[in-house]
Every structure is written in structure tokens, then in C-alpha cells.
């Protein structure tokens, strides 16, 4: 029977103000601080604080048998430092329990890899520094924004010294094989790829509270039973942390489920591992080839959630186009403002997809429409360009 590996993503973006044309050149504050604070407060009350307390208790009560992994973006850490130091402390206490592995990612939760190797490295480095500073640990497994992955990213992560990397177990690359094994990316020597088990992860992340789902209501015993029936070495259950209490409210029984799952898994004769433990325990015997980029977003599981339409394509291209200017000016504020504009959520909100995926995009957006998201973003970008231009002139570079 396979082991069970649990990883949660913790992230909040910096939402922009409804930044209209008249602010360009005048207003260097881009973020809707009130909204960012309010959403952080809401998610902290519904998810972060109670879930952290629960997992800390479960880790301690299970005496080392129950362990989890978290990936916490740089932007959410900054928000917690700014608005809710108590919430960050609660994460620190959870990590100090010894049962939590932290993963590496891009500081700004960005699509940097797709556009610039150099910027990607800078952001991963920045995130490693932040995690070390706040949690005093150095992650060994890398997960890219929303599991954006291909062979090149795996090779890059290996070069940067990571032992493992996380990806979506996409059928078009698995071609019938099980996601419950570790795999080797082509042209890598030792880094191992862990693949998300899509159906089992989504049972918890999406379907759990769906009363129309035939398996509803899901109990931890039933879920543990399903895992015992799986083949392979390790079942990877990867999802957003906010699914606990925020996407699925407390009333759905989500907390009861997580309360009881550690014991249910052990009772079923299974054991918990973290990503690094999985990498150490199991061989990656077979190759998982993934030339075209995959992700865990939308039905397409590609980049179309962020780069599917012309607005998204233009916005993201224009941001990355500023790289050389920003880095040559080397001003901390400007570099940070530019980095925050790379956060993938900005482009996610510009999606004009319809159907179920469109509904998910709209659930998360702070704006009336994708078009407003684009307009505000481009106006902010125009202001940033003006500031960069001024800074260049001051430096006498222009």
C-alpha cells in the first residue's frame, strides 16, 4: 500500500486599486491595502488560524506519525508581517512542531519561469531567503506557481540544488501510468518529480462539499479505504490550504474530516510522508516526459488560465519587458513594485473563460470583470513605466 503525502499551498496576492487613468503619473500606491487586509483577516479567521491550531495539535497528538508540507508564498508572508503578525506566528509555531516541511517557490507566486530565467532565479532565491529568515529552514523540494512544470523547469530546479519538484499528474504525459510513483525528468541526474494525484486531491479540494456528488458526504474512513486500494509508492494529495474553512466552510464538516484523517490513515495501515521523505524513500525508476508546460489550473491544465487571451498575453509580456530597466535602476521600491505585478493572480483575473473554470476565475476576482482587471493593471503598468523613466533620467542612463 502506498504512503500518503500531503501538501498545502498558502498564498494571497496583492490586489490592485481600481487604478483609473487619472491616477497615472500621480499615485505610486498601487495596492488596495484595505481589501488585502480585509481578505487576509477573513481567511485567517476561517482557515489559517483554526487550521494551524488543528494541525499543530494533530501533529503533536500523533507523535511524529502525521506530517504535512506547506508552501507559503512571499507575498502572503509579507501581508501577514504587515497586517497580521499573530497569524504568521501561528504558522511559525506550526512549523516549530517539527511535523511540517516547507517548500520553495517563486517569491511573488509568478510565472517568471515562462518569461525569464534570470528573474525566475532571483525570485526563488528571494523566497528561500524569506523562508530562512522567518522559519529558519531551507526547503529541499521546489514547487512552481500553480504547479507550472515542464522538463526544463525540472532541470532548472536540479541545477538550483533541489532534490524534488512537484508537478500535476497529467494524463497526456502519464499515458496510462500511475501518478503514485516518483518519476525522473529527461536530462536530469537526481531530482525526482512528485505528481499530484488529481482525482483524490480534487475529492478533497473541490468535491468535498458538493451534495450532488455520489460519494457525498465523504468520511475519513472511506477516503483512507480508497487510498489502500491504490497502487504505487506514494499518493500525493496537493491542494490550496484555503480549501479548509474558506472554500469549504466549517459547516460542510471539512474540519471534522481533517481532524480525523491522520488516525484514519494510520488505522488503515498507511503512513504519512512529506515530499522530502518521499524523495529519500523511493526510487524514480521511470521517466516522465513533459515538454509542453502543464499546471494544475483549469480543465486544460496548461498556461491558458493566465495567458489564454490577448489581454493576459499583452499584460504579462509588458511586465517582463521592463526587466532590464528595473534591474539596471536597482531601486528596492521599484523592483518590489515590479515583482508584485508579476503575481500570477493579476493575469488569472483577466481570464475571459466561461463555464465551470470561468466560474472559478470569477469566484476569486476582486474586479467587476476581466476587462476592468486589465484596464487597472495596464494603468498601473503605465505609472510604473513613468517612474522607471524618471529614475533612469536621474541616473543619467536614459
Amino acid at each position: 500500500m502506498p504512503d500518503v503525502c500531503l501538501y498545502f499551498q498558502v498564498h494571497q496576492p496583492n490586489r490592485l486599486l481600481p487604478y483609473d487613468f487619472f491616477r497615472i503619473g500621480e499615485n505610486a500606491n498601487y495596492e488596495d491595502e484595505a481589501m488585502n487586509r480585509e481578505i487576509l483577516n477573513k481567511v485567517a479567521e476561517k482557515c489559517y488560524l483554526p487550521a494551524n491550531r488543528m494541525f499543530k495539535r494533530l501533529i503533536e497528538a500523533n507523535e511524529g506519525r502525521f506530517r504535512i508540507a506547506l508552501s507559503i508564498s512571499g507575498t502572503v508572508i509579507e501581508q501577514m508581517q504587515l497586517y497580521r503578525p499573530d497569524v504568521l506566528e501561528s504558522f511559525q509555531e506550526l512549523v516549530a512542531s517539527g511535523g511540517v516541511e516547507l517548500l520553495a517557490e517563486t517569491y511573488y507566486h509568478s510565472l517568471a519561469f515562462v518569461h525569464s530565467n534570470k528573474e525566475f532565479e532571483r525570485q526563488v532565491e528571494l523566497h528561500l531567503q524569506k523562508i530562512e529568515e522567518v522559519f529558519s529552514v531551507r526547503p529541499r523540494v521546489f514547487r512552481n506557481t500553480e504547479l507550472i512544470y515542464n522538463d526544463a523547469i525540472a532541470a532548472k530546479a536540479e541545477m538550483m540544488g533541489f532534490d524534488g519538484i512537484i508537478a500535476e499528474g497529467v494524463e497526456r504525459n502519464l499515458v496510462g501510468r500511475s501518478p503514485n510513483f516518483l518519476y525522473r525528468a529527461p536530462d536530469t541526474a537526481k531530482i525526482k518529480t512528485l505528481l499530484r494525484n488529481i482525482p483524490l486531491s480534487d475529492d478533497l479540494g473541490f468535491r468535498f462539499s458538493d451534495a450532488a456528488w455520489p460519494e457525498y458526504p465523504l468520511t475519513s474512513e472511506k477516503f483512507a479505504q480508497w487510498i489502500t486500494e491504490c497502487d504505487g509508492d506514494v499518493v500525493n494529495l496537493f491542494m490550496d490550504y484555503e480549501t479548509i474553512g474558506e472554500h469549504h466552510w466549517d459547516e460542510t464538516g471539512i474540519y471534522k474530516f481533517w481532524e480525523s484523517i491522520p488516525e484514519a490513515i494510520t488505522e488503515a495501515g498507511l503512513q504519512w510522508v512529506t515530499p522530502t521523505e518521499a524523495v529519500e524513500l523511493y526510487r524514480a525508476a521511470r521517466e516522465y516526459s513533459c515538454e509542453l508546460i502543464t499546471s494544475w489550473a483549469d480543465t486544460e491544465r496548461d498556461l491558458s488560465a493566465w495567458m489564454g487571451n490577448v489581454m493576459q498575453q499583452e499584460a504579462i509580456a509588458k511586465v517582463h519587458h521592463l526587466e532590464n530597466k528595473v534591474l539596471s535602476i536597482n531601486d528596492a521600491d521599484l523592483t518590489d513594485a515590479w515583482g508584485k505585478m508579476q503575481t500570477s493572480d493579476h493575469f488569472y483575473w483577466m481570464s475571459t473563460k466561461s463555464g465551470t473554470d470561468g466560474g472559478v476565475h470569477q469566484y476569486f476576482t476582486p474586479y467587476p470583470s476581466a476587462y476592468d482587471a486589465y484596464i487597472y493593471f495596464m494603468n498601473v503598468l503605465a505609472d510604473l513605466q513613468i517612474r522607471l523613466h524618471r529614475a533612469l533620467e536621474e541616473k543619467g542612463i536614459a
Binding site: 500621480e26 509580456a317 503605465a382 513613468i386
Partner: protein, 434 residues
Amino acid sequence: MKRLRVLKLGWEFPPLINGGLGVACLGLARALAKHVDLTVIVPQSSPESDSEEFELQGLNRLSLKSLKAAEERYRYESFAQVQKVPVFLDPYGNEESSTDIYELTHEVIRDPLEIFSETTAEQLGTFKLGALYGPDIGSKVIEYSKIAAKLALLGDYDIIHAHDWMTYLAGVEVKKATGLPLVVHVHALQYDRSGAGDHGWIYDLEKFGMEHADCVVPVSHYTGKIIIEHYSIDASKIRPVHNGAEPVKAFETKKKFPEKLVLFLGRLTSQKGPEFFLATAARVIAKNPNVRFVVAGTGEKLRSLIESGAFRGLGAHFHFTGFLDKEKVNDLLSMTDVYCMPSVSEPFGLSALEAAQFGIPAVISKQSGVSEILKGALKADYWDVELMAKHIDNLLTDDKLRERVIKQAKLDISASTWDAAAVKVVSIYHELAC
């Protein structure tokens, strides 16, 4: 000469709708009131627009009782067989045009004259609430015409003056009921909104009104030509009168960014040609990246324009403000370097005059009425984006040209007043009344 009594039939009236039609009706009414006794009937009016200069009657504020004396004397004729008109028009809507097909089943009534002529409380009530445009505009136009005819019978008038197609049916009804001469004022045509091929109910009403009119007053020679060519109206009864422009308090604001600013102001519909503005912008920016283009306004084309702009990679230099109130529009005008009006068909184009009052040189399409007034403005066919771009670039780089265009515009607008327009209209009244 005796002071004439004029019954004016309008549809929009500020502050309820601040479209071009309402603004023009108010401007002309104020200037006319200096020469004639004026009564204005509109579907909806708000008490704040009541004026001592003329009498304003909003049907929303009318009581059924006040029509009573006229009911006996009036028989409705024009559309007696039709109860419901399947027409939809909302010139201020933002939705992309719907693909719904309206069923063309006119309900025919058995004894039309009896039922139809009398105004019911329910019919009068439709003017109290709801929009002036929208799905029931057809019925509103018919009800308005009946009530207007009755009100005309209750007063003493010498001339009827109707503004745009919504009131033409009323103008004809009043003329039939009273025998008075009818002037129809043409602020915009279905031709402008939908092109030459759209011959629906609105086109028919426009033609019907102009055919029954004793005089047709288009707001420009450009529109007069369309009336002759596309509506086959006798050229001898067409008398163009240009609109005036209320003087605005112009001011200048320093931009917060170093780039030049080129402005498009108007509703984002095919008629206003925003796509041509976008195509022009692409050409200017390719040559001179230190320019920002701003689209102020909203409409059914907004989303497709945003997408086209993104596709052309113009974002961050091509901005959308959405709908702006008057104050914001003025803020924008105060920092604008060039005004661009690439309308596909623009009967007049008041905004170009307003821009001129702010000392902004204009690049305007030849297919506009205002091009007859702004003699110095740089002109191009609306589709000629190359020339449009060249004009804009020249105005941004050639200060002498810029000064010349501004100077000429100042001269031109000084003559464009509502008083001047009113004098021409009054002379038409006197010709018809004697």
C-alpha cells in the same frame, strides 16, 4: 411682427438624460424663448429643469384630468391598427446588440378608433417610470403622439417643431389635428446609427415625418445631403441650421506624465468610429512612442476595443476611462493635446466644439457636420487612418501648425452660438406662419 407661439416636441431633456439631443433641445429652447412664446412637451421632465423662459410639460407630471377636454375632439389616425410596435432602441446601452428576434405579430384591434384615441391612466403612467428608450419605446412613441395632439388642441399655437424621430409621429399627429405648419429638426438619423442599409421602423418614421413636414431642419449640410440622398426628401424644404455651443469655462491642467495626450470622447458605437481611433493610435505610437491615447466613454464596442488594443500591443499607451461625468470630462480636456473625432457619420459633433473651447486642435472626420464649422481643423475620411495619424503627428510636432489650427478654431466657435441658431430658426417660423 407678432410674437409667434411655438409648440416644441422633444424627447430627452436635461438633466434626465444628458445625451446630445437633450443638450441641443435645451440650448435651442433657451435661445428661441427670447423671440417666441415657447411650450416644450417631453415624455419626462424633472422640476429642476422648469424655467421662466418657456413652459416645460413633462408627461410624467401630467394628470389625466387635464386631457379630458380634448378627448372628444380627437381621433387617432396614424397607426390605428397597431397596438404593439416591435422596435428596440437604446442609444445609451452598453450591451452588445442582442441576437433575439422580436416577433413581428402586431395585435390588431377590432374597434381601433374608439379604444385607441382615449388616453388611459395606465398609458399615461408609462411615462412616470422606466427608461425613455428600451423595449417599449415603440408604444411610448405612439402614446406620446396622441397626448401631444390633445395638448396641442388645448392650447393656441402657430408652429409645431419636432426633434428627432421619436417625436415625428407626434408632430404629424398635431399637424393633422390642428392644421398647423410642422418643422422637423434632424439631430441624428438611423443612417448615422446603423448605416445606409437599415430600413426599419425608425427609418420609416423618419421618412414619414420629413415627408409630412413643411420644413426640415438638419443640424448640418452633411445631414441635409443624407436626407436628400437616402430619404428622397425634396431639397427645397431642407434648411440646415448649425447647433450652437454653450460657452464652457475652459482651464488648463498640467499633465502628470510627460507624454502627449490624444483624446477620443464619445459613445463606443460603430457610428463614432472608435476602431479607427485605435488603428490611428497604432500608427502614431509606432512612429512616436511618447503619446498616450485616451478613450473616454463606454458602449457596446468597449470590450472588443480593449481586446483589439491588447492584440496590437497598445496597452499602457492606450487607455480606457469608462463613462465620465462632465467634471471629469473637463479635467481630461484640460490636459488634452489633440482631440480626435473619427466618426463614421456625425450629424453635428458638439464635442469637437467643446474641445475647441479648451484650445485643443482637432482632427475630425469629413463625415461630420462640425467639419463645416471648424474650418481650420485637420480633416480626413473616417477610414483614412493613415492621414488621420499624419494629422495627429503633425499637430504634436509642428507648433506653428498647432497655433494656426487653434487660432482658426477660436474664430469659428465665436460664431457658433445658440442665439445665431435661433435667429435662423425664427426666420423659418415666420416664413411658414404667414
